[in-house]
């Protein structure tokens, strides 16, 4: 369950345009332990939190262009916690030298009637999965190591099968638009995780097919 973004700027009205800076990589099961040890040493000193989340991705298709995607996430380990709704925009095609994937991000919390609400609004659930893993923090940076599982029977989160033999590792920062020093910090942190994991900017549109 991802916490809503914490901002240090005073909210005077409207919304602050938050961008998510993202680097992704993966690690094989056998190297997971060493990665967790290294993260425990590198990241802030806190009990490593583990989480189990169920994420549903909703699509709203208009007559034209790309569908609008919303991601609804709920915690299976804290069933009473509110749902978390997130919008992720298209990755910004800035200069190629920027080291992280940057995209617009809006996060809100929602009540448990979120799926019905989205359906009434016209969204259709496209796919869902269960993510299970650990989350670490270093300052504003968040590192999530998660194992993705496919849900075999929709709505039944007990019956899952793993997608692959690797864990997904994501390094992300939520920051207001325009702060490019963030990606430098992310890159130096990613350097410290080599050669266990190679965190890099993976453009999702290049992944299709």
């Amino acid at each position: 369950m991802e916490a809503p973004p914490v901002t240090v700027m005073p909210v005077t009205g409207g919304t602050i345009n938050m961008m998510e800076y993202l680097l992704q990589g993966s690690v094989l099961d056998q190297a997971l332990e060493s990665l967790l040890h290294r993260l425990r040493g590198l990241c802030d000193n806190m009990e490593p939190e583990s989480f189990t989340d169920h994420e549903l991705v909703y699509l709203l298709k208009g007559q034209q262009g790309n569908p609008f995607i919303l991601r609804a996430r709920r915690s299976l380990s804290h069933p009473t916690a509110p749902w978390h709704l997130r919008y992720l925009g298209q990755p910004e095609v800035g200069d190629k030298s920027r080291h992280a994937l940057v995209r617009n991000c809006v996060d809100v919390a929602a009540s448990h009637s979120l799926p019905e609400f989205l359906n009434e609004m016209g969204f259709r659930m496209d796919h869902e999965f269960v993510a299970n893993g650990h989350i670490f923090r270093k300052g504003v940076m968040k590192v999530v190591v998660s194992k993705l599982s496919r849900i075999l029977v929709p709505g039944n989160t007990e019956n899952t099968e793993r997608l692959s033999l690797s864990y997904l590792v994501e390094l992300s920062v939520l920051a207001p638009a325009g702060q490019d020093t963030v990606s430098e910090d992310m890159r130096s942190f990613a350097e410290q995780l080599k050669p266990l994991v190679h965190l890099e900017k993976i453009d999702p549109s290049k992944q299709r097919h």
Partner: protein, 275 residues
């Protein structure tokens, strides 16, 4: 000639004494640091102290090996007078460590033989050496020399050689698989490999809006023809195993279902024709 030798002896004894005093001071400060400041002590400073002591011992060794130094083994020290009385001069000379030159201290301070345990060990070693015979001893010497020279070679060679070896070793155990990375990223980003509705039987209960969709037949899978939307996901990419175990599926089950986008998505307008 004797005069010169005497002078040499005196000079060398003096320099030896000063070197030993240096070692003593270094040890003293080191012990003090260990006893009083052990909470703040860091490994590098401990190493520095050891290095200092080692350097000082080295200089002593060099001094003893120096040609100008007469062989101390030829000199004999004989106590001329032993008394149980306290000797002030001696006490001052030795900084209160030896206040009395008596029978007790002589065996310790004027000792020339090694300690009894050390003597025992030396005797054992020499009997062992005599037992194995000269040829075996020679072979052992050669083996030791070979190992040492190999080690020296490895240590002296430039770092690049070593790095290539270790990097090739590391590659035998990769800790991540780029194909997996792509598969996982695809899954998270747009559901590659994650089919959304699988089951033919039990209908997904929670989505009333899906009711009208199910009129399509026993399976909810519909191949997308949907205009123009770029969601052509789920081509069964490298990380996505076949979706097995669903016998009622049509062969199009590999494609992720995109809701048939005929007309608008608004549920109200769609339900109207059914009435």
């Amino acid at each position: 000639m004797q005069h010169r030798e005497e002078k040499q002896l005196e000079a060398s004894v003096e320099s030896l004494a000063s070197r030993v005093a240096h070692v003593k001071n270094a040890l003293h400060s080191f012990i003090y640091k260990l006893e009083n400041e052990y909470e703040r002590l860091a490994w590098p400073s401990v190493l520095d102290n050891f290095a200092l002591l080692s350097g000082q011992l080295n200089t002593i060794n060099k001094l003893l090996k120096n040609e100008k130094t007469p062989s101390f083994r030829n000199q004999v020290i004989i106590p001329l007078l032993l008394s149980p009385d306290r000797d002030e001069d001696l006490a001052k000379l030795t900084e209160q460590r030896v206040p009395v030159f008596s029978h007790e201290i002589v065996p310790d301070y004027l000792r020339t033989k090694p300690d009894p345990e050390v003597e025992e060990q030396e005797k054992q070693l020499s009997t062992e050496a005599a037992r194995i015979g000269p040829e075996v001893a020679q072979k052992q010497i050669q083996a030791l020399n070979k190992v040492c020279s190999n080690l020296l070679e490895k240590l002296n060679n430039p770092r690049d050689d070593r790095d290539t070896e270790t990097s090739s070793l590391r590659q035998n155990k990769p800790s991540f698989n780029p194909a997996d990375t792509n598969a996982l990223v695809g899954a998270v980003a747009f559901g590659k490999g994650l089919s959304k509705c699988r089951p033919p039987g039990p209908v997904a209960p929670t989505h009333p809006g899906q009711g009208p969709m199910m009129s399509g037949g026993p399976t909810l899978q519909q191949v997308t023809i949907g205009g123009g939307s770029g969601q052509q996901a789920g081509m069964g990419g490298p990380g996505a195993p076949q979706q097995q175990g669903q016998p009622g599926k049509m062969p199009s089950s590999i494609k992720t279902n995109i809701k048939s986008a005929s007309g608008s998505m608004h549920p109200y307008t769609r339900s109207l024709p059914q009435q």
